[in-house]
C-alpha cells in the first residue's frame, strides 16, 4: 500500500537530511506506528505519502502509484484515497460538526444525496450521533478529534494517516481515539500513525517503525515503544524531574478523569459498532481484508479500552459511594 524505496529528503541544501535512505513497506490493511524523537522525520514521512513534498532521492509508491511520476493534476485524486488526522484537529471553527464532515465531500464534488446519507453514518460510527449541530468549540478535545477522524474517513480512504492524533488528549480519551482508529483499521483501511505516546504503542502491540535522525533504526511487529531511560542521557537525579532535596525518585501517576462527553462518545461509538456487527454478522470487506492483516498477538485496543473504562467506572462509583 505504501512503499518507500531508499527515500531521502533534504529540505535545504547542505542541511542534515530529514529522511536518509529510508525503505519501508506497509501492506494493505496494516496498522503501523511511526515513532521517534521530535525531528526524527515522522512528519516528513507522512508529508511524502501525501505528496506535499517530493523526495530528493528514491521512490515513494502509494496505493499503486509512483509518486515521483504522478503529475500534479493527479495529486487530488491521490489525496482522495488518503485520510489525514492531526494533533490540532484542524476543524473549521465556523462550521458545525455535520458541516465540517460534509465539507470534505462537498469540495470533491460528491452529490448531495450521497452526503446526506454518508455523513450521519460516519458520525454514528465515531460516536457523535446527535451532536451534528454543535460547533467545534462546544466540544471536548476527544470529540473534536472524533470529528476530524470522521472527516478523514467519510470518503472511505484506503489509507489513514494520523500525525500524533492523541498528542492533545488525556490518556483515557486517547485510548478511546485509538480504539476508533483500530476499528477503522479493521474495515481494511491501512493506518499509519506517528506518535510519542509510549503507553498506547505498548498496549496496542502493533508494528512499530522507529525513526532516528532520518533513518529507520527499528522495524518490528508486535513491538513496544522503547525505553525512555535509554533514550535520555543518564544524568542522575535532576531537580526538574524529581523533587529537589528528596532522596529516591518517587513515581506517582497522576489520575486524570476524562471529560464525561468523551466517555459518552466512546460508548456511543461502541454501541454503533455493535449494531453494525449485529446487522451483518460477517462483513464482506473484513472477510476479504483480514488474511492480509494477521490478528496481533497482544491485547486488542478494544480490550484495553474496555478495561480502562471499567476501571474508571469503578473509581467513580467508589467515589460516589
Amino acid at each position: 500500500m505504501i512503499r518507500f524505496e531508499n527515500v531521502s529528503k533534504v529540505y535545504a541544501r547542505g542541511a542534515r537530511p530529514a529522511l536518509d535512505d529510508v525503505s519501508v513497506d506497509v501492506s494493505r490493511g496494516e496498522f503501523v506506528f511511526l515513532v521517534g524523537a521530535s525531528g526524527s522525520g515522522k512528519s516528513t514521512f507522512l508529508r511524502l505519502v501525501l505528496r506535499e513534498e517530493r523526495p530528493t532521492g528514491g521512490t515513494v509508491y502509494v496505493a499503486g502509484r509512483d509518486l515521483s511520476r504522478l503529475s500534479s493534476w493527479k495529486v487530488p485524486s491521490l489525496r482522495r484515497s488518503i485520510g489525514v488526522v492531526f494533533q490540532d484537529f484542524r476543524l473549521l471553527p465556523g462550521k458545525t460538526v455535520y458541516e465540517n464532515v460534509a465539507f470534505a465531500l462537498q469540495v470533491i464534488g460528491k452529490p448531495r444525496h450521497t452526503i446526506r446519507t454518508t455523513v450521519p453514518e460516519v458520525l454514528e460510527m465515531v460516536g457523535l450521533d446527535g451532536k451534528e449541530k454543535r460547533l467545534p468549540h462546544e466540544l471536548s478535545g476527544g470529540e473534536q478529534q472524533r470529528v476530524a477522524i470522521a472527516r478523514a474517513f467519510v470518503n472511505r480512504p484506503q489509507i489513514l494517516l494520523a500525525d500524533e492524533p492523541t498528542g492533545n488528549l488525556d490518556p483515557t480519551t486517547s485510548l478511546g481515539i485509538m480504539r476508533l482508529l483500530d476499528r477503522i483499521n479493521r474495515t481494511g483501511t491501512t493506518v499509519v500513525m506517528a506518535t510519542h505516546d509510549d503507553e498506547i504503542v505498548n498496549e496496542m502491540r502493533k508494528r512499530v517503525v522507529e525513526l532516528s535522525t532520518g533513518s529507520v533504526v527499528r522495524d518490528e511487529v508486535d513491538a513496544v515503544y522503547g525505553e525512555r531511560e535509554s533514550i535520555l542521557p543518564q544524568v542522575g537525579q535532576t531537580p526538574v524531574l524529581d523533587a529537589p532535596g528528596r532522596g529516591a525518585r518517587a513515581v506517582q501517576r497522576v489520575q486524570v478523569s476524562p471529560e464525561p462527553a468523551d466517555l459518552e462518545a466512546e460508548r456511543a461509538a461502541e454501541a454503533a459498532a455493535e449494531r453494525a456487527a449485529a446487522q451483518e454478522p460477517e462483513p464482506v470487506e473484513a472477510a476479504v481484508v483480514r488474511p492480509t492483516a494477521p490478528e496481533p498477538a497482544g491485547a486488542s485496543a478494544d480490550d484495553v479500552v474496555q478495561q480502562v473504562l471499567r476501571e474508571h467506572e469503578r473509581v467513580r462509583a467508589g467515589r460516589e459511594a
Binding site: 501525501l50 489525496r79 485520510g83 473549521l92 469540495v107
Partner: protein, 303 residues
C-alpha cells in the same frame, strides 16, 4: 451541489473583504470609463472622417500669371498643359481618382462672387485674380499622397492641395484627447490589476484553513481556486457594468441631448456606440481579473 457550494463560498468571500471589493469595483469602474472614453473618441473621429472625407477633394491649382513657383516659370498654364494634365489624370491616376472636374477661372470667379457678393474684405476682385484648377474626388481620400506624387512638379501645376488638411487640427486634437484617455486608462488598469491581486491574496490568506483542508481531502485545483477567481471576476464585472452605465449616461445627456441640440451639423457618437464597446469593456474586466487571479493563486493556493 458544486455550483451552490462555490457560490456560497464566493458570497462569503465578498462579504468578508467588502471594503477591498468595493475599491476593486471603483478602480475598475474609473479605469474602464477612461478606456471607453478613448474608444468613443476614436469612434467619433472615424464618424467625422467618414462624413467629411466624402466631401473633400484634392485641388490641383494651375499656374496663374506671375507665380513664383519653379514649375510656373513659363507663366500661366497653357491649354496644352491643361490637356496634358487631364490626360495624365485619366491614365495614370484612373484607379485613384473617382471624378475629375475642371474649374476654369470663370467658374472660380462665379463661385467666388456667389460666396462674397460684396467683394472680399473690401477689395473687388476680377476674373483674372482667380486661379484655374482641377478638382479631383478620390476613391479613397487617404490616397492623397499618390496624386501628389504624380502631379506635383509637372509643368503648369503650381500646387496640389488636400482639403483634408483643413480638418487636420480637429482630428489631431481628438486623437490626442483619446491618447490621453488611453494613457490614463493604462495607469488605472495597472492600479486595478495590483488591487485585484491584493484583494485575492487577502481573501486567500484569510481562508487558508479552508483551502488547506480542501487540498488535504483532494479537492481539485480548480475547485480550490474557483471561488477566488469568481470573486475577482465579479468585482471587476460590476466595475465594467458601472463604466458602461456611466458612459451611457454621459453620451445620452452630454452628447445626444445637449451637444446635438447646439451643434447639429456633426454626426455624433450615440448610445448605440456605447453598447458596441460594452463587450470590449466587459472583456477587459474579465481578462484583468482572470490574469491577476491566476498569477496570485498559483503562489498562494498551490497544491
Amino acid at each position: 451541489m458544486r455550483l451552490q457550494f462555490v457560490l456560497t463560498e464566493v458570497l462569503q468571500g465578498l462579504r468578508r473583504n467588502l471594503s477591498m471589493v468595493i475599491s476593486v469595483v471603483l478602480v475598475t469602474f474609473v479605469s474602464l470609463t477612461f478606456v471607453g472614453a478613448a474608444a468613443l473618441l476614436q469612434t467619433q473621429v472615424t464618424k467625422l472622417k467618414g462624413d467629411w472625407y466624402d466631401l473633400v477633394e484634392v485641388s490641383v491649382f494651375l499656374c496663374p500669371d506671375g507665380s513664383t513657383a519653379p514649375t510656373c516659370a513659363d507663366g500661366e498654364a497653357t491649354e496644352e498643359q491643361i490637356a496634358g494634365l487631364e490626360n495624365v489624370i485619366d491614365t495614370e491616376l484612373s484607379d485613384v481618382v473617382a471624378t475629375t472636374y475642371f474649374e476654369s477661372k470663370a467658374d472660380a470667379f462665379e463661385a467666388f462672387a456667389q460666396l462674397y457678393p460684396d467683394g472680399y474684405q473690401g477689395t473687388q476682385l476680377t476674373e483674372d485674380d482667380m486661379q484655374a484648377s482641377f478638382r479631383l474626388k478620390l476613391v479613397d481620400p487617404e490616397q492623397y499622397q499618390v496624386v501628389d506624387d504624380v502631379l506635383e512638379g509637372r509643368a503648369g501645376v503650381e500646387v496640389v492641395e488636400d482639403q483634408r488638411e483643413v480638418f487636420e487640427p480637429l482630428f489631431l486634437a481628438l486623437g490626442r484627447a483619446s491618447l490621453l484617455a488611453a494613457g490614463l486608462a493604462g495607469v488605472m488598469l495597472l492600479a486595478a490589476v495590483l488591487l485585484i491581486t491584493t484583494t485575492i491574496r487577502l481573501s486567500a490568506v484569510s481562508r487558508r484553513r479552508e483551502t488547506g483542508i480542501m487540498r488535504l481531502v483532494g479537492a481539485s485545483n480548480l475547485f480550490v481556486q474557483l471561488p477566488f477567481m469568481l470573486e475577482g471576476a465579479i468585482a471587476a464585472l460590476v466595475g465594467a457594468l458601472l463604466a458602461v452605465g456611466g458612459l451611457w449616461l454621459a453620451v445620452q445627456y452630454l452628447v445626444t441631448d445637449w451637444l446635438q441640440d447646439s451643434v447639429d451639423w456633426v454626426a455624433y457618437v450615440d448610445v448605440g456606440d456605447v453598447l458596441l464597446i460594452a463587450p470590449l469593456l466587459i472583456g477587459i474586466a474579465v481578462l484583468l481579473a482572470v490574469v491577476s487571479s491566476v498569477v496570485t493563486l498559483n503562489r498562494y493556493t498551490r497544491v
